[in-house]
């Protein structure tokens, strides 16, 4: 098991190296004269020269990459061009806010998707199964930004149950209840797609297991239904569910960008969005690096859990 985890960890290293190259190349995507474009039309010649020197744009590209990579590895993510603060100071707290939002969404998706998927599989073609399938099919197709607007209109503007934006109230105490109050709508909007995907996957994965002979044998022995389903069937249905949930957790990060922008949730998605609008490439690079590293680690974790759950994989 430890060897498998170590092997997977080693396999991740070249990918992270590739990730750093892709993110570094973001700067090369800027159209025209990079330094001048980044600073905008009102920049003075001295400022353009200063930025060019700071980003090392006058040096050959491999030298630029090397100095960029070494400073990244030392924890120096550069400075924001627009805000003149270190990128790390900007990105890290925002990332924690995004984790709260993404974590809540994933919790909603699993807490509803897992039991609903199991129920759909156990009672295939029942009323519950049909309804949940319809919702899953629609949920998977619904644009997140539109769903966020629909939720905002119904629950914030019409019913006034929840606030329309922010993470805490200005006059509130900023405590956990206040946070929770702000969290509900963006979390539900972000959860829709992963919820749909997880429900469908749990259903199909469970259906496949339930049809196997050993389940029939257990039932024939007279084992109670709940025991058969939760102790024996679910365990074998779990590996694909865990790996897809790991992937969904990553896609959640993408989905949060839309909900963060719409609900003004001060997360890394909103930060990335503002940095893109301001052409603040060092912040875009820092945010993407953070997200990619987190995503890779998450999938690594999912792989290791899957291997732990599936002894057949563990042997390899």
């Amino acid at each position: 098991m430890g060897k498998y985890a170590l092997n997977r960890l080693i396999a991740v290293l070249p990918i992270l190296f590739g990730v750093s190259i892709v993110i570094f190349l973001f700067l090369q995507l800027v159209p025209g004269d990079v330094a001048a474009t980044l600073l905008g039309p009102r920049a003075t010649a001295e400022k353009v020269a200063a930025i060019r020197a700071e980003l090392g744009l006058d040096r050959p590209i491999h030298e630029q990459y090397w100095s960029w990579l070494t400073s990244m590895l030392q924890g120096d993510m550069g400075r924001s061009i627009a805000l003149q603060v270190p990128v790390a100071d900007l990105v890290l707290p925002k990332f924690l806010n995004t984790l709260i939002l993404a974590g809540a969404s994933l919790l909603i998706a699993i807490a509803i998707g897992l039991p609903l998927g199991i129920l759909s599989a156990v009672r295939q073609y029942s009323f519950v199964d049909r309804i949940s399938t319809v919702f899953a099919v629609i949920g998977a197709a619904a644009p997140t930004f539109w769903l966020a607007l629909v939720l905002m209109y119904i629950f914030a503007l019409e019913l006034r149950w929840f606030p329309t934006s922010g993470m805490t109230s200005i006059r509130g105490d900023g405590g956990p209840l206040d946070l929770l109050h702000h969290l509900v709508l963006p979390a539900v909007a972000t959860a829709a797609i992963p919820l749909a995907v997880i429900t469908r996957l749990v259903r199909s994965s469970m259906l496949e297991v339930i049809r196997r002979d050993y389940i029939t044998a257990l039932r024939a022995k007279g084992m109670p239904q709940a025991n058969v389903i939760y102790k024996h069937a679910l365990r074998n249905a779990l590996p694909p569910i865990v790996s897809i949930t790991g992937l969904q957790a990553g896609f959640l990060l993408g989905g949060t960008l839309f909900t963060e922008v719409i609900f003004s949730w001060p997360g890394i998605g909103l930060q990335l969005y503002n940095a893109i609008l301001a052409r603040d490439v060092p912040v875009v690079q820092g945010a993407m690096l953070f997200i990619a590293f987190f995503f890779v680690l998450l999938n690594l974790l999912a792989d290791i859990i899957v291997a732990y759950l599936n002894p057949k994989l563990r042997a390899h």
């Binding site: 990918i15 997200i291 995503f295």
Partner: protein, 314 residues
Amino acid sequence: MAETTVTASQSEPSNGLVRRREWEAREAQAVRQAESSLRLFWIALQRDKLAMASALFLTVVVIMTIFAPVVAPYDPYEADPALRLQGFGTEGHILGLDGQGRDILSRLIYGARVSLPIALAPVIVATAISLLLGLIAGFYRRGIGEFIMRVLDVFYAFPTVMLAIAIAGILGPGMPNVMLSIIVVLIPFITRVVYTATMTIAEEEFIQAARACGASDLRIILHDVLPNVLSPVIVYGTTTMGLQTVFAAGLSFLGLGVQPPIADWGIMTAEGRSVLGIAPHVSAVPGVMLLLVALAFNLLGDGLRDALDPRLRQ
């Protein structure tokens, strides 16, 4: 002597005729089989009512898009300030009017001219590139294949949506940049589909047979592998078209794609955002349209997958 010559001269054409008839019969059978497998596919697809309804819906949308100037009741950019934000069922404006008094139905129809090609064209381009990469990688698994797949692995390390937004954002707004960003993020996914299919096919006996007959690699790839790889690719491409339509609209919604005042479903949704409290229909209509298009592509993709799979067909 004379007899033998006669028999020889008689038997030769008759032998040739037999051989030709046999050959023709085999050809005809092959054509029948190809026809019948296409027909089986068609019968299976027709049985899938949701997929057929989706195909019909998408066809209607495409026809309306092509004939937008004829179908749309108004000019999508012509504003009637007196009727601003009027809701559903306003006289002459079934779907109401937006914040500037423009007819929402007309903008919806014209919007398809931007919202559909901006997503569908990149899917087609990415599929073509991925077919090339995936066939090469799956056929020559060591060396170049290994290299292609390892490079593409890097792109799996990013959440797709964020990578595309970052690329489109840095390149700057506009339709070509949105399309480019979608192509870049799609290639790794479609290539993996092609790669996996190619790998399975390349190990089949009929490929070995073709090789034993002296067929070149290029001939094997184009004549034997490619036709067998197409069906998973078509299924994936169809399903992802819906997702990409939503995503491209999302970029325009964020202001990173097509720019106002161009009629586009994403921009229409964004324009409705500022008047959400007083006129929710402005953003609801394009949102529902996006949902329906994405839904139709998903259901059609599911239907194609089932219909193309011989195991599920029977």
